[in-house]
């Protein structure tokens, strides 16, 4: 009896001792927390998008382990048994870490590609703008440059938000807008590169020089592409002076306020000396002449010109205003020193021929060509890196 009682006590003591060491199989809380955190970071890193296969494996594994954690809440683990949940969690953690690194690498690569695309187009736009500024054709483009710039700013904004594909889409739009600008410049200024137009202008100049020769008189020729006034006396060049044109002077004048400088054959109808003009000294031209009127009326009839526009007038070759200006409203401006040299040589009736260019290879046609050549070769026409 005593022996049996003692045996029972010993058995209970052993069991009691063992139960002190035995415990419910639990996932280590810090490890569990670490994997949960990793899962959150994977969501932020868009693991499923950037490393889909690896993420799929991780997700399967992780969901399985989570299921096990719930299912094995009351499973007893003896001291000699290893904690398989902890081991699995560690495996999930390692797997997740691998996915995170892969996703982060790919996302960064995509971010860099998007940034490069924007930066390249920004550089293209900068080069483009400087080239069109050089020939004074910025005004021709109206609101288009700001539209392109807005698209590029938007693309940058999307990159900041991590929306790389949207950024890429807007870069393509911006690229198309730039192409539109180029097309517009070719439409408006293409005549500077057109052999027939240049031949026509050359003919006008030849007639003017011939007139000067046969009439033993002075005639003026203004070349808009070169921004130069040449004075001919007896058919020979007697002086060349730099000129400034209208703020949209590279275009052919169509209506009042367009800032363009007219083209064609004119005559001086009045001379204005000091005190008679705000521009030091001036010669008034007979713009609009019959040809200008005919063209204006035709444009109105076809609806190419709004009904409320006027043909304008008061086109002069003048000196400087009190404030030195870079452009006029459409007139031709000489420096005061140069108009002094010309003033006494010309008289009422002196012919003035204004042309676009004398050679097909001129500043405007070359600038137009450079718009094509100057494209960064790392981008294609759609703004995509080659």
């Amino acid at each position: 009896m005593t022996k049996s009682f003692s045996m029972r006590i010993v058995f209970l003591l052993i069991m009691g001792g063992l139960s002190l060491f035995a415990c419910v199989q639990k996932a280590p809380p810090d490890l569990l927390q670490a994997v949960e955190e990793l899962d959150r970071r994977l969501v932020e890193a868009e693991g499923a998008r950037y490393a889909p296969t690896e993420f799929g494996r991780f997700a399967q594994h992780w969901v399985g382990v989570k299921g096990r954690i719930l299912a094995e809440e009351d499973v007893i683990r003896w001291p000699w048994e290893s904690n398989s949940l902890a081991m699995e969690l560690r495996a999930v953690q390692a797997e997740g870490q691998h996915v995170l690194e892969a996703a982060a690498r790919k996302k960064e690569a995509e971010r860099q590609e998007a940034s490069t695309r924007v930066a390249l187009l920004e550089r293209r736009l900068e080069t483009f703008s400087s080239r069109i500024d050089r020939i004074g054709s910025r005004v021709v483009l109206g609101q288009r440059p700001v539209e392109t710039e807005l698209a590029l700013r938007q693309a940058r904004s999307y990159i900041e938000q991590g929306l790389f594909s949207r950024s890429s889409h807007v870069v393509q739009q911006a690229s198309r807008l730039m192409e539109d600008q180029k097309a517009l410049l070719h439409t408006k200024l293409g005549r500077y590169a057109d052999e027939r137009s240049v031949a026509y202008w050359r003919g006008l100049v030849a007639r003017t020089i011939n007139w000067s020769r046969t009439h033993h008189a002075v005639a003026l020729v203004i070349n808009k592409a070169d921004r130069r006034l040449t004075i001919y006396r007896n058919g020979r060049p007697a002086g060349v002076f730099p000129v400034k044109l209208g703020f949209n002077g590279i275009l052919e004048k169509r209506y009042q306020g367009d800032g363009a400088t007219p083209e064609g054959q004119y005559r001086i109808i009045r001379k204005r000396d000091r005190g008679q003009t705000q521009f030091y000294r001036a010669f008034v031209l007979d713009y609009p002449n019959d040809e200008d009127r005919r063209r204006f009326q035709a444009a109105r009839r076809t609806g190419a010109m709004p009904a409320e526009t006027y043909i304008g007038g008061q086109i002069e070759i003048h000196g400087e205003d009190q404030i030195p200006m870079n452009q006029t409203l459409g007139c031709i401006m000489l420096s005061n020193r140069h108009i002094d040299k010309v003033f006494d040589l010309v008289e009422t009736g002196t012919p003035v021929t204004i042309i676009g260019a004398l050679e097909a290879k001129n500043s405007v046609s070359m600038a137009l060509a450079s718009l094509e050549d100057g494209d960064d070769d790392r981008l294609d026409g759609a703004g995509q890196p080659r």
Binding site: V63, Q143, Q154, S157, Q161, M325
Partner: protein, 202 residues
């Protein structure tokens, strides 16, 4: 004889009963939940979470396909069921959170729109006061830019009306930044002219 037949049929019936069935209904439910999240705009407003949902759904489908390819007795759809349950649960949360995020984005876009409108108005005011200066072409270009910005304001509204709040916000920010840059340019030019005038008086 009868006993023998029952004896033969029983294991066959047990085998058939033991074969696991693919979780077709759970898959359909998870797919619907993901589609609902997408329709709510999760792809745009909770992109990361939505990508995870899609990834998990794809993973579950892959697991089902893999199990389908196995011998009938060895099929186990446990993992895919767990994944699908997780997708369905998360998709509900994502749909709810998307609605919240969308509202936040709408509010932010509306605020950005107001900011852009004010900036453009200020820039227009400054451009109207801008002196001709010596560079008429530059002034014309700035005027065209300011007009372009005014015209672009309509695109913000268009994006807002179309529920593209991210687009509206990005556009508004671009317009606001450019309007401020124009304003600064005009103010600098005005200050320069003022300085020139003061210097001449001396």
């Amino acid at each position: 004889m009868k006993r023998l037949r029952i004896g033969l049929l029983m294991p066959v019936m047990l085998l058939v009963a033991a074969c696991a069935q693919p979780p077709t209904e759970k898959l359909a439910a998870a797919e619907k939940a993901v589609a609902d999240a997408k329709a709510a705009g999760a792809q745009a407003y909770l992109a990361e979470d939505f990508t995870k949902l899609e990834g998990m759904l794809a993973s579950a489908k892959k697991e089902i396909t893999e199990q389908d390819a196995k011998f009938a007795l060895l099929r186990d759809y446990g993992k895919s069921e767990q994944l699908l349950a997780s997708v369905s649960g998360d998709a509900g949360r994502v749909t709810t959170e998307t609605a919240k995020k969308k509202e936040e984005a709408k509010a932010a876009a509306t605020q950005a729109q107001q900011g852009a409108q004010e900036a453009v108005k200020t820039a227009q005011g400054l451009v109207a006061k801008a002196p001709a200066g010596k560079d008429r072409a530059a002034l014309q270009a700035i005027k065209a830019d300011a007009e372009g910005l005014t015209a672009s304001l309509a695109e913000i509204q268009k994006a807002l009306d179309g529920g593209d709040y991210q687009g509206a916000q990005a556009k508004a920010k671009a317009i606001q930044d450019k309007a401020q840059s124009i304003g600064n340019e005009v103010q600098t030019a005005m200050a320069k002219m003022q300085k020139g005038k003061s210097a001449k008086k001396k």
